[in-house]
Every structure is written in structure tokens, then in C-alpha cells.
Amino acid sequence: MRPEIAYYDLERAAEISAEEALFVQRLRANDDAAYDELVRGYNASIFHVAYRMLGDSGDASDVVQEIFLKVFRNINGFKGESSLKTWIFRIAFSEILNRLRWWKRRYRHATVSLDEDQNGNGHGYRLSDATPGPEQILQSKEQEQAIQQALKKLSSDHRSIIILRDIEGFSYGEIAEVLGVSIGTVKSRLARARADLKKSLMRYLSVQRV
């Protein structure tokens, strides 16, 4: 596709701003600075989603890199029918769900550890809290583990919805576009996922009530 035509198409699309259209244009032109900007802008949020979905920081890191490569390979296929963010997360979820399917086939009978080390000492990443006290660290770690365990019990469809809505703060419309489902489906899945999650997190929710 010739750049002039691509730019014209992007400008016509109502969902994408002129600034974003220009950014996409730079990505298509293989601009170094644009790709650096892309990585800096989306690295953390894609990693969060990948980590919550896969439960392993190493796998999440691998997937993040694959996702950026896919964005680069497919940027000419971006039509501007949705925002760039939504389009990138659609690619991200496609890659993450593929990884999960591959993982299930390969380790169907194995016990899945949610990023625990061999001593069962919890996840392998740093929390970004500035100066937490020992109690806060302990509580934070405990809650983190509880959330990961609770997410693990959900189906991948329900887990995707919860992560996008309650952790990443996507709107219903964005979730529908990312996951390729209707808004009605988003609502019903979210209701069921929250109900399931409530059962798993009951202990922490009751503590919070006090």
C-alpha cells in the first residue's frame, strides 16, 4: 500500500486521531524513533496483561517481544477502524491466548505454578511500591498471590475480561473490540467472572469489609 493512500484512509477513519494517524504513518515508514516510542509506551501495559494471563514473568516477557514483532509485521494491515491501542491489544490477546493453548496442550497434566520459585516463595518480579514496610510487603505479596490464584481458576475468556476491565481499566467497547465479541457478551461474561472471582477472594473481601 502506498503511504499517501494509507494516510488518506487513516484520516477518514473516525476512530483514530490525526496525531495517531501520523504516528502510524511513521511506523509504516519504519521510523526508528516511532518504534522506540511504541515500545516505551506499550511495554508495561502489555507486560501486565501478559503476566496476569500467563502467570509467569518469563513467559510474559517473551510474549511481549513477540507482540511487538507482530505489530511491526502487520502495521500495514492497520486500517484505522479502531484505535491503535485497541488494535495492539487485539494482537496481544491473540498471541497470549495462542500461548495459553499451546501451554495447555503441552502441559495438560502438569501442575501449573503461578510464577512461584522452587521454594514456593511467590512471584519473581518486583512490586513497584516505593517504600513499603515489612507488613505491607507481606500483605501485598499475599494479596498478589491470591489474585493470581483466583485468576488462574477462571476460564481464559473470563480472565481476559477481568484483566482488561478491573485491572487495566478498558471500557466495555474497547474490551469488545479487543476480544472480538459484542458488548452484551462483555457484560454477561464480566458478571459471571466477578461472581466466580468473589468466591475465590471471599477471605480477602471479608477482611476488607472489617
Binding site: 494479596q143 485491572i167 464480566l190 468473589k198
Partner: protein, 252 residues
């Protein structure tokens, strides 16, 4: 959480006021479907009204709504894991490698597309040129194609006249042959003489005529002293054969 409870209580009171104004009702399943959109502010005004109306009279659904809000707040308050420090760098490096690899592939493909239409004519031209030079050089350099003793047709001889010259006797040798006639030739004598590239006779064979010891001696004497202009191929002296015929000329 107390704040949430008080909010629900306010909503319930407001819903109570609405109760008299609407006849629409909602069962518990329907109410649970609306709870998520409700707490996410994604429910329509009519859905909100219906849900609030139901909550006024349904305590289990109030508790359900409260638990949903708790779940949402609990998840929203969780710390986000920090991405590994080198992830940005690794992503940028991999992306850069892919982008440049792709650039070279694209360049290679473009070059290949440009050269492909020229490939057949170029190969054809080179092949024809090589064939032409092969034939010419083969004809010029081969010693076996034209030899002094080769029998060639008149037609071929005309074509090859510039390529070789046959062996010839010198005038001095001709005179010696004539003056040393043994005078006893009763019949013509014919010999095939093998002449070397120096013009000296290497060997001979009597083809026709009586071979007496005297004649044999005479032949040897004459051939030892004889000199020839050797045959040449492309200007280079070569071995050749010449047939010499002698007859006695007597005056009667």
C-alpha cells in the same frame, strides 16, 4: 466499604421513590446481569432504574452488589507488577533486528525483481557468444582438423587453401633427380616419401616400379640429398607425405 454500603442505601431510597412511578420489575437473575454495568457506570438509565427498584426489596441482591463492588475495588487496588528492567531494551533490540532483516529482504526482492526480466536475454547472449568463440578458437587451434596428408575434396581445398600449404620439392632437388637418371628405368617408378617438418626425408615406400638393388641404392642416394619445402598448417611446418614419380626419357 462503609461508604459503599451508604451509597447503596441512598440508591435504594431513591429507587423506592421511583417504585411508585414505574411498573417494570426485575428478577434476581436479571438484576445480577445488570450489576456489573451498574458499578462500571455502563448501564442505561432505564437499566439503573430497574436495578434500583429491585434492590429496594431484595436483600440478597444488595449483598451480591456489595460483593461485586468489593471485588472490583480489590482488583483495582492491586499493585501492578513492574516489567523486567531489560525488557524494553530486549524488545527494542529484537524489533530493530527484525526491521533491518526485513529491510534487507525487501531490498533483495526488489533487486531480484529488477534483474529477473534481464536474466534470460543475458544468459542467451553469453551462451551464444561462448558458442561462437568456441567454434572459432576450436577451428584455429586444432592440429587434427587439417593435416598435410589429409585427403580433402577440391571444394574443401579451396576453403582451406589459406590454412595450409602442401610439401614441395626444391628446384635444386628437381635438377639432381634429372641429372642422376640411371637410364635403366624400364618402367615408371613411383615412391611415397615421408617428409619431416625440417624438409628432410624420413622414410619412403615404393608404390610402383621394379625394385632392384641398383634402383634402391639410387633412390636412397637421391632422397638423402633431397630437400623439400615442408608442408605448413597455419604457417607452421608439419610432417607430410609426397608421392614422387620417375620415368626415363630416352631419345629414339
Amino acid at each position: 466499604m462503609k461508604e459503599v454500603s451508604s451509597n447503596i442505601a441512598i440508591l435504594t431510597k431513591q429507587a423506592g421513590k421511583l417504585f411508585s412511578r414505574t411498573e417494570q420489575t426485575l428478577d434476581c437473575d436479571g438484576a445480577r446481569q445488570l450489576m456489573s454495568p451498574f458499578i462500571d457506570s455502563m448501564a442505561s438509565p432505564s437499566e439503573v432504574a430497574k436495578l434500583e427498584l429491585h434492590l429496594v426489596k431484595c436483600e440478597p441482591c444488595q449483598r451480591q452488589l456489595q460483593s461485586f463492588i468489593s471485588v472490583r475495588n480489590f482488583l483495582a487496588g492491586v499493585e501492578q507488577p513492574a516489567a523486567p528492567e531489560d525488557l524494553v531494551l530486549e524488545s527494542r533490540v529484537r524489533l530493530s533486528q527484525e526491521r533491518h532483516k526485513n529491510y534487507f529482504e525487501r531490498l533483495e526482492n526488489r533487486l531480484s525483481n529488477v534483474l529477473r526480466p534481464l536474466a534470460l536475454p543475458a544468459i542467451g547472449g553469453v551462451s551464444l557468444t561462448m558458442l561462437f568463440f568456441g567454434i572459432v578458437l576450436g577451428a584455429m587451434l586444432s592440429n587434427t582438423t587439417v593435416m598435410a596428408h589429409d585427403r580433402i575434396s577440391a571444394h574443401e581445398e579451396r576453403a582451406l587453401v589459406a590454412l595450409f600449404k602442401p610439401v614441395r620439392t626444391t628446384s635444386l632437388t628437381m635438377k639432381r633427380f634429372a641429372t642422376s637418371d640411371p637410364q635403366d628405368f624400364d618402367e615408371p617408378l613411383m615412391i611415397e616419401t615421408h617428409v619431416g617438418d625440417t624438409g628432410k626425408v624420413l622414410d619412403y615406400v615404393v608404390i610402383n616400379g621394379t625394385e632392384t638393388p641398383e634402383i634402391t641404392r639410387w633412390i636412397r642416394e637421391q632422397l638423402v640429398l633431397a630437400e623439400f619445402k615442408p608442408a605448413t598448417a597455419f604457417g607452421k611446418p608439419i610432417d607430410s607425405k609426397i608421392i614422387l614419380s620417375f620415368v626415363a626419357v630416352r631419345s629414339l
